[in-house]
Symmetry: D2
Subunit: 383 residues, 4 copies
């Protein structure tokens, strides 16, 4: 693990998610750029001190020399955004598979470069857009793909939070600190941190790609350096329309990632804070509540379920599902086998598209909320 030392939030989440199904064990880490802090964090986690490093460079060097049966199968990167690309590139080129927190990189250029590295090294790169790990999100995608909704017309994706409604970054709160700092977070604040989740979720469920967008970003909190709110009109390729809005000044909202998708035959909505339900609506039939764990849930979604219906799964289980699926790919890679078909986890292509989203939004907003075309994103050819 790179990053995720004492005081971090997402590192612990990754550790629980990775270990949930008994498929992985943490054995090494460079938990902080401060070697002492890294050591202390490794001790908290009962690691062999010899495999706790003061820098990811040292770790890559040492670990790549380990005998094959002791070598890491993969590395997890949970550092702030500006430190995604360097370790990702280094570990991929050192022969390791990589699981990386989102957004993929610091900017689009880096993401494109990283894609080249992934393609060249043929290693697995998984990006933890964790919300797509939810069973009912997968069911939503299946309904769209199967034509159950008909032709798609409109998507409303929103992600309001309220935790940054004051200048929290000046209080020493670590999370607020780096997420509002353009040097560590990138060109966008709220949009980079959570707007990308909304965009990714929309794309995952609908398969729609953005043609152009018009974004009005705001920094409401005085003294803040990056946007803390963004409202975006979207035109998708093929004619569907959309709204994406995200906010970190929506007082009292916690993590209200919600999506509604409207088709000609039916529509659906999913609310991250009630993740076990998928609401499906019709022109002329009773509204339906599809609930995780029931027999009617399709196989593509059902295989991501751990406990029966009515036993709520949540954030960590969805996160674990990203890991579970990436592990299938990594296991195949490690054993030199072909990966199973239809693996379902976010890749570097999602990362590039996410970074392109951030850049396009920022560009539109800087132009005074003008319409801007989405850049061309070539997907990695399926092997």
């Amino acid at each position: 693990m790179i990053g995720g030392g004492r005081g971090a939030f997402i590192g612990a989440v990754h550790r629980i998610a990775a270990a949930m199904d008994g498929q992985a064990v943490l054995v090494a880490g460079a938990f902080s750029s401060d070697p002492a802090r890294s050591k202390a964090s490794g001790a908290d986690l009962f690691l062999d001190p010899a495999r706790v490093y003061g820098s990811f460079v040292a770790m890559a060097k040492a670990e790549s020399r380990m005998p094959e049966d002791e070598r890491l199968d993969f590395v997890v990167i949970v550092t702030p955004n500006y430190q995604h690309f360097p370790p990702a590139k280094l570990f991929l080129e050192s022969g390791f598979n990589v699981i990386c927190d989102k957004p993929a990189t610091f900017n689009l250029a880096e993401a494109r470069k990283l894609r080249t590295v992934v393609q060249r090294t043929k290693k697995i790169f998984a990006l933890t857009h964790n919300y797509t790990g939810n069973t009912m999100v997968k069911q939503a995608r299946d309904l769209v793909r199967s034509g159950f909704l008909g032709e798609l017309r409109k998507v409303v994706a929103e992600y309001p939070q309220g935790w940054l409604s004051t200048l929290l970054e000046k209080t020493g709160q670590k999370q607020a600190g780096w997420r509002t700092d353009p040097k560590r977070s990138g060109a966008a604040g709220c949009i980079g941190d959570i707007g990308t989740h909304a965009e990714n979720l929309s794309r995952y469920i609908t398969g729609l790609h953005i043609d152009s967008l018009c974004a009005d970003l705001t920094t409401f909190v005085k003294g803040r350096k990056l946007d803390d709110d963004g409202n975006i009109l979207v035109r998708f390729k093929g004619g569907a329309k959309g709204i994406i809005h995200a906010s970190q000044i929506s007082v009292g909202d916690e993590n209200a990632l919600n999506i509604r998708v409207y088709g000609t035959k039916a529509s659906l909505e999913w609310h991250q804070e009630q993740p076990n339900e998928l609401i499906v609506k019709f022109p002329d039939q009773p509204r339906q509540i599809w609930r995780r764990g029931n027999g009617y849930v399709g196989v593509n979604a059902a295989r991501f379920t751990r406990v029966p219906a009515g036993h709520p799964e949540g954030y960590l289980e969805a996160f674990g599902n990203i890991y579970r699926e990436a592990f299938h790919a990594i296991t195949a890679e490690v054993h030199g086998r072909k990966p199973p078909k239809n693996l379902d986890y976010p890749t570097i292509d999602d990362g590039v598209e996410g970074m392109a989203f951030i850049e396009t939004v920022v560009k539109s907003s800087k132009l005074g909320a003008k319409w801007v075309k989405f850049p061309k994103i070539l997907a990695t050819p399926k092997s």
Copy 2:
């Protein structure tokens, strides 16, 4: 009553709303431009045939000659939009008070003219933006006005419906027919029909006026002549931002007018389909559910309540509240008294602002969803 004959929807609603508190009795009408249909409708309603007219012109003429103690106290206009202005003007100038369905007129120019007529005749003109009649909407306004929410930052108002997701107007459905016909409805379809409600609700609760907006209207259903979906970015005077979106192709949504208002200290949300509740959220306290009929509801809202908490009030009661309040003004006018202070019903000023909203939205959309300034709207000076 002008309009509202057999086959109409909103006429019956107005009749129930007007009669709800035993303050008004229907005695005359021109229910249809087809005299036979008007007669038949009058008979359905047990009216004296002598006071059922074949046209509003005939009605105005005859009724203004009635002795004072038999004369109408007010006229209700429930015709399609293009027939609001002519009867409104005529009855106001004939000495009658007027209650009119929204939107006020066919276009902004008519609305401005109508305002002049209202100002000149000094008659009461009430516009039935019925959703602002809900008790908990009034409570929401009170919370905003009292500073409970702090400074306002963001408003999200949405009004998705699904009933026009097919070309219903070609089936002979009367409601769909006129509402999608630019000759009878005006320059906008969905935005004129329901977008104005969202805008009015936002303005009523927050007191914020739009500075500029960027609107992307769509006609999804082939063969339709007006928009059936609209997504609008809003910048309010004073710096708050907003999103207003309305749709009539949101399959399975019924009448999902919802609003969220975010301030620096607290935020609130209200859902028209659960009208008895107001959700209030804080940075650091449990979320609150304020419920109609309880002792903690403020006096400005509580006086619009008919039954105790837990006995749901709905659409008709809210509609009735507009009438109830307009009746206070009309009663005063009829008796030559000064109206009570702080009467709370939509006036011609709301009508003008609503028509300006429609025109600005249509203009923005026609320019390719560019930002357009909201026109100047002078309010009627308070007497």
Copy 3:
């Protein structure tokens, strides 16, 4: 109208409900046993003072002498329970139809007598168990009757309120006063006031009759004379089981009448505070939300709808539906016609069964919460 003068609650509800559809006009009343108060109440309602009476006896005498075209078509009784039987009997025997608030009478013996009077006079007697007037309750009954749920197994009906969690009756609050007074309310407090609604709703939807029950009533508030909470186990004829519980000390609950009905094939639940929805559940299909006003709602329920889906109807509309249906019967009676088939309003048979429920519950509780057989209730033969 008998009762319902100044300070009363349910009188105003009846007036709105009766007038809602423009089918009835209030013309006479004995609003209070205090003649001055009755006069004042009549004036509030714009009645001809000549038809405002100081007692129901005076009213019955005077009104029965009126010419036929001016005579009342029916009388509404909204007095406290102990004053239901005397005016009901008198007016029925004086040739008037009667609409009466629930519970039917002061005790079971009176209810049985009243049934005899109704049968003898052949007048209409309608009992306002208003919650069965809800459209989605009617849809629930239809689903049960059609076999959609299969064989019924379990019913859970509950009615918690919190408004009597303190000794409110000692503060002079009029409603609390008579409802907790055994001389005016009858043998039961909470169970008579609202427990009967739960029992009636259960019987209306399921058609199940109670075979025996075991009731544990409690008076939690010191100084109170009647029960303020009751928990009841029920065995229905035919083998289904049930729970009915009602409370007026359930702090913070408002009017939470809820019912769940479980069958072998499906189950349903309805919540009075969200009356426009009916939840239907299956062993192996997504949960369904049936919503009032949609095309899929069956004809028996749909005819009780006034406004489209998504425009919430509530307590008053449901109340109005009882009136609307009773009016069909009364209109037929007045014109000497046979009433339409399948009229759907509560009759004296419901009243007798409700009073039997109260007596059985009280008996069981007094025996120490022992199982007690439900008495035999012969229904009025269908004419």
Copy 4:
């Protein structure tokens, strides 16, 4: 681990819960009474085959001979009920701490004996009444204990499920098989399996102990050997009243464990399927929704939270909380230290009280649903 081999449900849940916080590693097991199946299950879990046993007796013998630094710190028992007592007793007496699935034993007599063993051996015995591991359940308990609700008056605890609404046990479904078999499950079916959870949750939150109860158990599904539905009236010591009902024939209900607690000052409700929320109601204030992860959640509850507000935790996290807390006790025991104060996990005392509940319910029902006194249960003296 004892039990939990291929095809089991709860074994996997325990494994995830135990490993969630990186505090425990599975090293040995007797996963099935069929040695081949046990071996295969051990292999699935990557265990050293030498520590996978064909019986718990063999395991106890072998593991107690292991050197101290390789010995098990604790054993987890996840077998059907009839096989709780024998391994629990053996392992405790062999010097191991024990974590055991609920209900504690096959019957009350065994539970009492087991308590003696626990007291004698001074080992830790934790019982996984997992629902009390939910953060907001802990918050509920804190509110009650702090007097926030005032004096308690009424408790309604319910646990409807629908999965046994047909004779599933005849289809070979393993879970249904043993849970409906009196030889493996005990004297009660539904009440033993889930009714105990409702009772335990009620006791945990309120601290109330049952004085007497009246239970009406039913076996609705023909051919079934144990109850599949139970309705219970409860009188608590101190005067509060309650209802506990549980069902496995409530078609379409999944795992709807819900509790409402009413006090003189406030009331609360918690719904297991929405575990991150706690609803708090007042006589005269807006209803409150307390949500996990916020700053206002008290310390006793907050320490059981892993991820921020709005990131839903669920069933597995609550289960993990039982483990987390038991680990504090076990760690102390293993190191010969005094355990921290105020540890919060279910013990053998909860097990004895749960078994007494089952026996009392069954007794009452067999007597024809008569009131029966709850037996005396002496708690383990606090050391």
